[in-house]
């Protein structure tokens, strides 16, 4: 095994124990590989080989590219490997669909309660994917936020998974997990053509008859009604893919029990301004001090250097100990703790990983 947190060059030993890497938010592209026509997978690792924050199937990360755009991608690697993340990126023409992004799980069942909160596609999202495909290279640094999970695998005896195209990514760790849990599961995987469908061989090789691959040019559209069958209370349906697929699945599941269907939609990330490259100011309201936060330090480090006492624990954005009230300004949230509505209120932030969208934040410190 490799070290725990700070150094991996110790090789087979548990290494340095001091908690989080100092700048947990910057990872390095350690591998880039074409996994299907128009799809590359990226393997990300900490530059000093530290453990990465833990995640669960259905999680996504914010990927902050060197050009400044932020895109969200589902983690599709192996959580038993604590040292790398894997994502898969579809090359999209500018103006087409963005990356997978979930509905709020709480919106629940299809019948009556809607199921999907996200809105439709987003213009301009092709830019980030083109950068990943054409310019990003192994060794390049990328920023990350999260992981966060709006699409968790809830306990069930049976699962029906439906993937459309690159929507396979969050489902990949889910089917592995369903297998580990001994659940009865099936995957229906549709795509334009066989060669465009990422991880197709990996899935059919590992799980055989549980996986049904439906390339549209060979077999036409997915026959959802037939495949889903009659509603069953012991089954959860998970779907990720483009909006027309989700709409069709919602319709096909209309008579299923509430909360049976859980979806993740290709949709716009919350409209976030480009990642701030410039320093910003943080005002500590209680002491009146102002400190400048440069790109190479965290807000936490900056306010501590200005004399603020901030209690922390994980320093990875996962435990919530350093949650601090924000009095003015808009935080650039990068944590794994706050729900969307809590982020949108912009009245608190985790100082260990989150930053600022604007020139200035005023904190209740």
């Amino acid at each position: 095994m490799v070290g725990s947190s700070a150094v991996a060059d110790a090789g087979s030993d548990i290494g340095e124990g001091r908690s989080a890497p100092r700048n947990a938010a910057t990872l390095t592209v350690s591998a880039k590989e074409e996994v299907a026509e128009g799809v590359v997978s990226l393997t990300l690792a900490h530059p000093r080989g530290a453990r990465l924050p833990d995640w669960t199937p259905g999680s996504h990360i914010d990927l902050v590219l060197p050009e400044g755009t932020t895109r969200q991608y589902s983690l599709c690697g192996d959580r038993w490997d604590a040292y790398t993340y894997r994502i898969a990126v579809l090359r999209e023409p500018v103006g087409r669909w963005g990356s997978p992004r979930s509905s709020e799980a709480g919106s629940g069942g299809v019948a009556g309660s809607g199921g999907v909160a996200g809105s439709g596609g987003v213009a301009g999202s092709g830019r980030g994917s083109a950068y990943v495909h054409d310019r990003l290279r192994p060794g390049d640094p990328v920023g990350i936020g999260g992981p966060r999970n709006h699409f968790p695998l809830v306990p069930s005896e049976k699962y029906l998974f439906i993937a459309g195209g690159i929507g396979i990514t969050p489902l990949l760790p889910m089917v592995r997990q369903a297998e580990l849990l001994g659940a009865d599961w099936q995957l229906l995987y549709g795509g334009r053509t066989r060669s465009s469908m990422a991880f197709r061989e990996e899935l059919t090789g590992a799980y055989g008859g549980r996986v049904r691959v439906v390339p549209q040019d060979e077999l036409g559209l997915l026959d959802l009604a037939a495949w889903l069958g009659t509603p069953r209370p012991d089954t959860r349906v998970y779907c990720c893919g483009p909006a027309p697929l989700l709409t069709a699945v919602e319709a096909a599941c209309a008579s299923w029990p509430p909360y049976a269907l859980r979806t993740e939609r290709f949709t716009a990330a919350r409209q976030t301004p480009p990642v701030r490259e410039a320093p910003f100011e943080v005002v500590l309201r209680r002491t009146g001090r102002t400190v400048t936060v440069t790109p190479d330090v965290s807000v936490l480090e900056a306010v501590r250097s200005a004399g603020a006492d901030v209690l922390t624990s994980c320093e990875q954005g996962t435990c919530g100990t350093c949650l601090t009230p924000v009095l003015e300004g808009r935080p650039d949230h990068r944590d794994s703790v706050l729900a969307d509505h809590q982020r949108a209120a912009d009245d608190c932030m985790l100082l260990c990983v989150s930053r600022s969208c604007g020139d200035r934040l005023v904190l209740d410190l």
Partner: protein, 404 residues
């Protein structure tokens, strides 16, 4: 890995018994000896490897892949021994089964969700402190403050009825003893296991809980399919097992710390916003939860020592929290210290899920005390209560001087 195994280090051996009464009552000397002996020490008496240095304890805590909890976090290995009760879905579980219960409870106990409790608990603490001071300036701080406050605040928040709350502390004492060997402490609880378990289990039922507490929210998560209905009562049980004794002895640690460090009390009075830091410093300094075990999922080396698959490691949280390699002047209770990163709440995916609740309780009680009390001092020798896991108290005789 292969190379590491070939060059495995033979660890120092100790025949000490960390669960002997004298060690439980005064763990410092053993902790120091274990830290100084090496990064890994073999405890011959229990056939386990022990970690007492911060670096190794922290690393093992976060490494759920190599050190699992599902085989039990006590000495008993659930792969070979029957647990004394159905295992916890949180503490004694691993991914992937651990995911859903953890997620549900984490959302319920996250800081934003606790905001509505803040005013309630500050008011409750003011009321309690007023009452205690009215009753007299000398009292057992363990009973009237450290136990009284969480026994009121926390079960209210969970949604428990008023009756039978005096069962909570004995149940917790029993559950935390059960992580140790089957010694006299476990035997002393044996006659109450059935009765206390039955009482606690009955409290976890939906109809036994109020409609607006943590317990009801756990059951609502089951309605939404985020947990199964079989899991919901066990998740409530986790709150009742892990949420009471730990906080009581954490608060008692604060009172003991301030009674023996009057300058630190003055510092808190001047800057009451240090209440949370004070609580975490007390948790570091006393480590109410002293130890937990893990089980190696595969052959693993720690600092060159081979931990064979399916064997237990014993992590001394209390020793790590006083490791001079990590903490300056570690035996000193010091409000100017930044206690961030202590492992008193554990670390990683099993880190205390109620830590924010505990901090809020501590903040409420310490803030109320700081406002009303000029000085706290001991009037006699405080007595410890031996427990296989908890650094707990039997009594804490205090005298306070009310502020003008």
């Amino acid at each position: 890995m292969t190379e590491a195994l070939e060059h495995a280090v033979v660890p120092p051996v100790s025949d000490a018994d960390p669960f002997a009464h004298d060690v439980l009552l005064h763990p410092g000397p053993l902790h120091q000896a274990l830290r100084e002996a090496g990064p890994v020490v073999y405890l011959a008496r229990y056939d386990v490897h022990a970690l007492a240095r911060y670096e190794q304890v922290h690393a093992a805590l976060v490494d759920w892949q190599n050190f699992e909890s599902g085989s039990g976090v006590g000495l008993a290995n659930f792969r070979h021994e029957k647990p004394w009760r159905p295992p916890s879905l949180l503490l004694e579980a691993d991914p992937p089964r651990h995911d859903a219960p953890r997620r549900v409870l984490r959302e319920i106990l996250a800081p934003p969700g606790l905001r509505r409790l803040r005013e309630t608990w500050h008011a409750l603490a003011e009321e309690l402190v007023d009452q205690v001071l009215t009753d007299g300036a000398e009292f057992d701080g363990l009973a009237v403050l450290a136990e009284a406050f969480p026994l009121r605040a926390f079960p209210d928040a969970v949604g428990l009825g008023p009756d039978g709350r005096d069962n909570l502390l004995p149940y917790g004492n029993m559950a935390f003893n059960a992580f140790g060997p089957r010694n006299d402490l476990v035997a002393a609880d044996a006659h109450r296991v059935a009765e206390l378990s039955a009482w606690v289990n009955a409290r976890c039922a939906r109809e036994a809980l109020s409609e607006d507490g943590f317990g009801a929210r756990i059951w609502s998560a089951a309605d939404r399919g985020e947990l199964t209905y079989e899991q919901a009562p066990l998740v409530v049980r986790s709150l009742l097992t892990a949420g009471v004794d730990t906080t009581v002895h954490g608060l008692a640690a604060c009172l003991y710390a301030f009674a023996t460090h009057p300058a630190e009390w003055q510092r808190l009075r001047e800057r009451p916003e240090l209440a949370r830091t004070a609580f975490d410093e007390a948790v570091r300094w006393q480590s109410p939860v002293q130890t937990f075990f893990r089980t190696a999922t595969t052959d693993v080396t720690i600092a060159g020592t081979l931990i064979p698959a399916d064997t237990k490691i014993l992590m001394f949280l209390g020793a790590a929290n006083r490791d001079p390699a990590r903490w300056h002047d570690p035996d000193r209770f010091d409000l100017t210290r930044d206690p961030s990163g202590h492992v008193g709440f554990g670390m990683g995916i099993h880190q205390c899920i109620g830590q924010h609740v505990a901090r809020l309780e501590a903040e409420a009680l310490l803030t109320a005390l700081a406002r009303r009390v000029e000085r706290i001092e001991l009037t006699g020798t405080p007595h410890r209560h031996p427990n296989n896991t908890l650094r707990s108290w039997a009594s804490l005789p205090l005298r306070v001087q009310p502020a003008d």
